[in-house]
């Protein structure tokens, strides 16, 4: 392996890291902070992807001149639509289940089946084509022999921006303070005058909106179809749990480690064996860190 290869592999690792991080941010909030096992999280990503597709079709039909801008608009739309859907979902279903988190798994599993069939029946049973905007096609030629795909650079940027925004929101605003208070202790938060109902709905919707952003940006890298969500969901859960359920920082660290493992393992062995080895390592690491990499507290 020469220097060029090293650079490209390092970049791949970075890229996979940001992809995993984008995937996991939403779930880190919904599952990590709120304790809702949202099995439909993957389908929410697919919803974001489909929204982007819809935006592309809209622009193609009505504003073909601004086609280059569609993708940015698509990401914003994806966030808005999944946010609203998440809000309704919380009000209509999840809010009744906070006392029994494992039941959220069953209900959202049912929801994911329904969403898949809706995509299949009303949008397309096949994958839809989401065009890549012209300014994200091609590569950035760093040196004569080393080049990096623009779309991946964009995702890295998006992940950094999104991650920073979530951090700011949670730790630097009053809303964030309320969210953290409610997720730590709902009844006492209520007692000190926080409108927990509102905060719950907002927090859940935020997590869903982040899934929308992730799904939207992945249209550049992967397929958009009825079962797209299934490709993401397992990795997403593993990243969140591996990092330590209640730690946002842990999620990011675990995305980083998983991303590095994935890119290097896949380089040295076949993709299937790489995946099996990564999962095996997750098991081994959890043995040594029984509450995730970044356990916020060890009390048992």
């Amino acid at each position: 392996m020469n220097f060029d290869m090293l650079a490209m592999q390092a970049f791949t690792g970075l890229s996979v890291f940001t992809i995993l991080m984008l995937m996991a941010l939403g779930l880190a909030i919904v599952f990590g902070l709120m304790g809702v096992i949202n099995m439909a999280h993957g389908e929410l990503m697919a919803m974001g992807a489909y929204t982007t597709y819809g935006t592309a079709v809209l622009f193609e039909t009505y504003f073909p001149r601004f086609m280059d801008a569609y993708f940015v608009v698509g990401i914003v739309f994806a966030f808005c639509i999944t946010f609203v859907f998440g809000f309704l979902l919380e009000r209509g279903l999840i809010q009744f289940l906070y006392k029994r988190p494992l039941d959220t798994m069953l209900a959202t599993w049912g929801l994911s089946l329904i969403l898949q069939q809706i995509y299949r029946q009303f949008i397309n049973a096949k994958e839809v084509e989401v065009p890549t905007v012209s300014w994200l096609q091609g590569t950035w030629q760093a040196t004569e022999t080393v080049s990096f795909p623009l779309s991946r650079i964009f995702i890295i940027g998006l992940a950094v921006v999104t991650g920073a925004a979530v951090y700011m929101l949670l730790y630097k605003t009053r809303w964030g303070l309320r969210i953290r208070a409610v997720t730590q202790n709902r009844s006492i938060s209520g007692a000190v005058g926080i409108n927990t109902t509102k905060v719950d709905a907002f927090t859940f919707a935020l997590g869903c909106g982040l899934a929308g952003i992730a799904g939207s940006s992945f249209t550049m890298l992967a397929s958009t179809g009825p079962v797209t969500g299934q490709a993401y969901i397992v990795d997403t859960f593993i990243v969140v749990v591996f990092g330590g359920v209640e730690s946002l920082l842990g999620t990011i660290a675990s995305a980083f480690i998983m991303g590095q493992m994935q890119s290097w393992f896949e380089y040295f062995m076949s993709g299937s064996m790489a995946r099996a080895s990564i999962l095996l390592l997750v098991i081994v690491v959890l043995y040594f860190r029984p509450n995730g990499l970044f356990a916020t507290k060890v009390r048992r």
Binding site: G35, L102, T183, I238, A276, P290, N291
Partner: protein
């Protein structure tokens, strides 16, 4: 404890009623095809019964029961496949003469595996196979659980460990197709110890064996829960630290019950393979493992008998809806799950609780609240 009313009778004789239903009513009223389907649901119900033990009473959510189901299923398949390969009928021998190897399972021939791997060898023997099905999965489960619970791995982390395990197993099976049959699984058996598996009589006998074993598993589960071991288990679920301070080793109890659930799943897997005629990675991976938990949840996670009904309801629902509403059946199954969660939090079992005269439903709720992250609630 005035259980003298009808409800009391029903509760006391729940297993008897279940036995009457699956050993008498259903076999006598269904044709051979539907009975075959019923056998499939019942095979999966073994896992659900195990999940009630470990999840409902042990507080361990396993998303990897497919692993143990798969182990049982594949070990049985290996035996059946070797028996199939040994008797050379026209089609297999044509294949093996073509590849120049006789007595090998067909998928090995076309993956250019030259000789039977050593770990296949013992599965020539039926008693070894049966012993392995009964011992290997529980042993693995015990070691896995004990090691992890000794380290005090948290519930949700253990769930992810089991989830990863089932993903690994599916990937390895698919990737090592020369030895495992790959994504196709192991299919196309003819006989079990010389008995033609596809004869109606054989099917009926196998059905009764499955149903009988399932009842036996429910009884074993009941016995465990009623014993002192069961009481310690529930105590661990509710306040693990206090149990530990009283001098018990919670890891040992949890690992034991996890091994029992693995045993049930493994038996279910073996019976599944014998009756459906295939072992497939599609029953090992993450999705089937989650579905097994759903069977238990639909039935009511605190009721062993309920788990069987839950498996029957979901299995039958899938078949019925997909046969009659081929376009819409996923909506119906999805809606079924949501409705059960919303209106029957304790599963089918709590339906009875609601119908029960003059009793509050608080009992069905209490243990359920005590889950995933109790410390933050």
């Amino acid at each position: 404890m005035a259980n003298r009313d009808l409800w009391g009778l029903l509760s006391r004789y729940g297993v008897v009623l279940l036995a009457i239903l699956i050993l008498l009513v259903l076999p006598l009223s269904l044709g051979i095809f539907r009975l075959g389907l019923l056998a499939k649901y019942l095979s999966l119900a073994f896992c659900a019964v195990g999940i009630v033990l470990i999840w409902g009473y042990g507080g361990i959510l396993s998303l990897g029961q497919g692993v143990f189901f798969g182990l049982g299923s594949y070990m049985m398949a290996m035996f059946l496949k070797l028996e199939r390969a040994a008797e050379a009928d026209s089609s297999t021998s044509a294949l093996s003469t073509f590849f120049g190897q006789a007595g090998l399972p067909d998928f090995m021939s076309w993956n250019s595996v030259e000789a039977l791997p050593w770990w296949w060898e013992p599965f020539h023997h039926v008693w070894f196979t049966i012993t392995a099905i009964l011992i290997l999965p529980p042993l693995l489960a015990f070691i896995l659980a004990y090691v992890n619970f000794r380290r005090r791995v948290g519930e949700v982390y253990f769930s992810i460990i089991t989830l990863s395990l089932s993903a690994i197993m599916a990937i390895v099976i698919v990737g090592q197709q020369g030895y495992t049959g790959g994504i196709n699984g192991i299919t196309d058996f003819k006989t079990f110890m010389g008995i033609d598996l596809d004869q109606d009589n054989a099917k009926i006998v196998m059905y009764y064996i499955t149903a009988g074993l399932l009842i036996a598993c429910v009884l074993v589960g009941q016995f465990i829960l009623r014993s002192r071991l069961g009481k310690v288990l529930v105590a661990i679920r509710d306040r693990e630290d206090r149990v530990r301070f009283s001098g018990y080793d919670p890891a040992l109890f949890k690992a034991f019950i996890f091994a029992v659930a693995a045993l049930f799943s493994s038996i279910g897997g073996a019976m599944f393979t014998m009756q459906i005629g295939l072992a497939s990675p599609s029953l090992v991976g993450i999705v089937p493992s989650i579905e097994m938990v759903i069977y238990a949840a639909v039935g009511g996670r605190l009721s062993l008998v309920g788990a069987v009904y839950g498996s029957l309801l979901v299995g039958y629902g899938k078949t019925f809806f997909s046969e009659n509403f081929v376009q819409y059946w996923l909506y119906m199954i999805g809606a079924l799950f949501i409705v059960i969660v919303m209106f029957l939090p304790g599963g089918l079992a709590s339906l009875m609780e609601k119908l029960r005269p003059g009793k509050s439903a608080k009992n069905a709720q209490a243990p359920i609240a005590n889950e995933l992250k109790p410390e933050t609630r």
